[in-house]
Symmetry: C2
Subunit: 219 residues, 2 copies
């Protein structure tokens, strides 16, 4: 029997203890091998450039470079690397967003270890892993949008500028203050804010901040 057939895995999470929790669990699974860990998206991307694992377990809320950005970058460079997203929150838009940009699965951090194991094997064999809760979310989206086109629907994806404005809103700045900071007209910021409300489905500022938090734009 060869040992060379092990599934190579990398972890990206800014919490060392959480990483070691996963590491300890993976050590008990003969078929997999943890090849490295990373503390943030940037470190992960650097390491992936050196060596590509087959599967990445990626926290979505990280400093320096958050999970979604890291997924984009890695899938762009190495489309074959499978990525399983890990997050604290079961946000509907986040699920579709992350899957759309190329993640193979979406798990909550309070996942049962056994399910994590299933997710790894399923992703390795079939290329994806959708649990019931992700399936039901996708179904909901499907029913809502009728057509969920080939590349999914990405009307809810925030632009860079919108994200920038959103972050400043979370920092308690008013439109006028944001406008000055970014050298824009207050009317423009207002426009960005309108689109943020539309895209996120939030009703007001409170909703925007909640969204930003769950998305990991702020922490």
């Amino acid at each position: 029997m060869k040992t060379a057939e092990k599934i190579t895995i990398a972890i990206a999470d800014d919490h060392k203890l959480f990483r070691s929790g996963i590491a300890a669990f993976l050590k008990n699974i003969d078929e997999v091998e943890l090849i490295y860990e990373a503390e943030d998206g940037k470190e992960l991307v650097d390491k992936v450039k050196m060596q590509q694992p087959e599967i990445i377990l990626m926290d979505l809320n990280m400093p320096v470079m958050n999970g979604t950005e890291a997924i984009r970058k890695i899938k762009d460079l190495y489309p074959d690397v499978k990525i399983i997203a890990l997050t604290m929150y079961d946000n509907e838009k986040m699920i579709t967003n992350v899957l759309e940009i190329g993640a193979s699965g979406y798990l909550l951090k309070d996942v049962e270890p056994e399910e994590l194991k299933n997710a790894i094997f399923s992703t390795h064999e079939t290329g994806y892993y959708f649990n019931d809760f992700v399936n039901s979310t996708l179904l909901k989206q499907l029913l809502r949008n009728k057509k969920l086109d080939p590349k999914f629907k990405k009307s809810f994806e925030l632009s860079d500028r919108e994200i920038e404005v959103l972050k400043l809103i979370c920092k308690e700045l008013t439109n006028a203050e944001i406008a000055e900071l970014l050298s824009l007209s207050p009317r423009t910021v207002d426009g960005h804010r309108q689109r943020l409300l539309e895209k996120t489905g939030a009703k007001n500022t409170a909703g925007l901040v909640m969204y930003a938090f769950r998305k990991g734009y702020v922490s």
Copy 2:
């Protein structure tokens, strides 16, 4: 050599993998023994009633009963049980609040394992553990309040009603909607909102939601 002298420890955290990360780490320390884990505050309180550990490692953000409530309850029933708070966020008010209600230490979840070990031993021997970052926070508070009276200062503690209103604000309700829901005058809700802004130091709704998030009132 006896093994009976081990420091008994309990963990409360809703993330199984994070718990097992800590558990794996504790296993490597001869002087401590993990006697049980809990998924939320309620489960922890129930278990503590059966058997009291010497030290509890407590996540502050948990469903069912959050960490601060659990600390209150446990310190009320068993003042000798030492509690080290674990959290994702380094919120100033949260630190003073948690220490005030009886926690022995405050650590961020991205703590180095070595520091966690120090915290456990220090707490066991001296009754508390303050790292630099907590110390500087307390110092700031001290300078700000001049007198940090025996029971600390609790002017920033939110009342039950205020917390109730805060949660509804996070649910994107307007003052008018909150008023109707709670059968109050919109003016009253406005008053609560004002005091929330004062106590939390937030400048606007966005700040209130951020505060609620970091405090663990919403997730």
